[in-house]
């Protein structure tokens, strides 16, 4: 993983010699060596542009994969992804609001860039709270109610986003909105990276203590209960933690699709459903996949392609291959199919 991180650091629009990169990174991280002979501009590009980007890719990939694994276990559905609880649509609504209305309403309050992130975060959190509240109506939270509540909230948020777009036609803002919704690792300084990393580390540590419970959850509500798992409480805690993590990631990087869906499946095809192996492998693969995707995103053309496009283009065929391969049946329970 760190090799890939290193590798990604020196691929970009401006090519920097490999040894220069190594020297800059070593100097900045460990204070080794002397970089006074390297042009400050080069140092800035490597340290302020490429390095945070690579690390953000690592964090986002790991985070999305982690949440993907948790969501699939929590709702016992192989089609679940990190956005299934309506978080992405909530964030979109927030971002839409900030980008399209923001220029007039809140221009004085926030710089436009920071405004989008904050509103996206608020939107994401509000959406997950709404999903949570809706699925708790009438007693225990069940996986079906969670998924349906996610659909409902997504629909509502989607409708309001469209309404805002419709009422405030603004070509420039529309373009930046489209770009935001496709996801990007750009505009990431070390502050963003630190925040995301902190939340991710907390989430990883928490879920590493939950591997046994996640396994039991996969067997369904009733079996998990008879194995002594208190699903009602666990679901609530899991939703809170995953929502915060995803809200932070989405608000900083937009919606990067497919990673949280396919990485858990690819990992399952490699090591099986047991979370003791699945979780670490997913986090690792997610991080690597994301960093590689980002390299493609910024090296194909002089401007950069939104990374969401890359993850879907690369991810879909891999996913198709796994589906066609006979040994991985997604557990559908239909043995003739596997």
């Amino acid at each position: 993983m760190f090799t890939v991180l290193f590798f990604t650091t020196f691929i970009g629009a401006v090519s920097v010699p490999f040894d220069t990169v190594v020297r800059i990174v070593l100097n900045k991280l460990l204070g080794i060596g002397d970089i006074s002979d390297i042009r400050p501009a080069t140092v800035a590009i490597v340290w302020q542009l490429y390095a945070p980007r690579g690390m953000l890719g690592l964090i986002v990939g790991a985070g999305l994969a982690l949440v993907g694994v948790v969501m699939q276990a929590m709702v016992q559905n192989p089609l679940a992804d990190p956005y299934i609880l309506g978080i992405s649509s909530g964030a979109s609504l927030g971002a839409t609001f900030a980008i399209l209305m923001g220029s007039t309403v809140i221009a004085g309050t926030f710089m436009s860039g920071a405004g989008v992130e904050i509103f996206a975060f608020i939107g994401a959190i509000v959406a997950s709270v709404a999903v949570f509240a809706l699925s708790s109506v009438g007693g225990r939270i069940t996986s079906t109610k969670l998924v349906l509540s996610g659909c409902i909230i997504s629909a509502i948020c989607g409708a309001f986003s469209s309404l805002i777009v419709y009422l405030a036609p603004n070509a420039t803002a529309m373009r930046s909105l489209t770009f935001w919704s496709m996801g990007s690792l750009s505009t990431s300084g070390f502050n963003t990276v630190t925040l995301c990393a902190a939340v991710l580390v907390v989430a990883i540590i928490f879920f590493l203590t939950q591997l046994r419970n996640l396994n039991a959850m996969m067997l369904g509500d009733s079996t998990a209960t008879t194995l002594g798992i208190n699903l009602a409480t666990l679901r609530k805690v899991y939703i809170v933690i995953t929502s915060i993590l995803i809200a932070v990631l989405v608000s900083n990087c937009g919606i990067i699709g497919f990673v949280g869906l396919i990485i858990p499946h690819i990992s399952r095809a490699l090591v099986g459903t047991n979370h003791w192996k699945l979780m670490p492998i997913s986090i690792l693969l997610g991080a690597i996949f994301m960093m590689v995707a980002d390299v493609f995103a910024r090296s194909f053309t002089t401007s950069e392609i939104p990374i969401g496009i890359i993850t879907s283009i690369c991810g879909a065929p891999v996913f198709a291959y796994i589906m066609i391969r006979k040994s991985y049946g997604f557990g559908g329970g239909d043995s003739r199919w596997t």
Binding site: Q72, Q76, N77, P78, L208, T209, Q210, L211, R212, N213, N215, A216, M218, L219, G220, D221, S222, T223, T225, T226, L227, G228, I229, N230, R268, G272, T273, N274, W276, Y328, G329, F330, G331, G332, G333, D334, S335, T338
Partner: protein, 259 residues
Amino acid sequence: MDIKVTDVDVSVPKKRIVEHASLHVDEGEFVGLIGPNGSGKSTLLKTIYRTMKRESGEILLDDVTIDSMSLRDSALKMSVVTQHNYYNFDFKVEEVVMMGRTPHKRSMELDDDTDRAIVKEALEAVNMYGFKDRNFSSLSGGEQQRIILARALAQQTPCLVLDEPTNHLDIKYQLEVLDIVKASGCTALCALHDLNLAAQYCDRLYVLDKGKIVKEGTPEEVITEPMIKEIYGVDATVDHHPSGQLNVVYHPAHLAKRS
């Protein structure tokens, strides 16, 4: 350990499914629950193994109310075998059985040699050790049922609750599954459809009809021609096989016409 159920009512919106049900299962006893489809057998069992809530009444495990126990506490006392086991994800057989160890482990604790030995023993008990590396979903219904029983055995509880454990099984495995339960010495509460099996394995029987327990006693006392006619609406002859076993023979309509 023993189970005591007193005056339990269970309802879903607009419908009462179980009404004033009381039963008890004593230490080491094998108690059967019989009754037609929709009589509330599964609901009553679910209330006991805590996936459904009761409206009123009391359920005691070893004289302690289940309300004061954590789910983990009750999972250490009671393991459950149900008829429907379908998973959206594919686990290996061994992993499914290993899940039975869940209530015994802290969340960060790894499976150790003791756990693996228990799982091996449980798989051997149901004659499925050779299948341990297969995918659960690739097994036949009967094989899956035996794996679920193995998981319950690996849970090492003093009590087993079984809901139609012999469904999908051919006659050999029907007998085998019930023999395993019997041999385990566990206190067992088991819903059964087959009256002959109920007669052969159960120490006592409860008959559930329209949510109420209408009859209880030894198989000899409970399984009678009038009971079968009244509860199931089926004509039958109950007699004793030369071996001494109770024997129920049904008289379906097309045969009745002929005679």
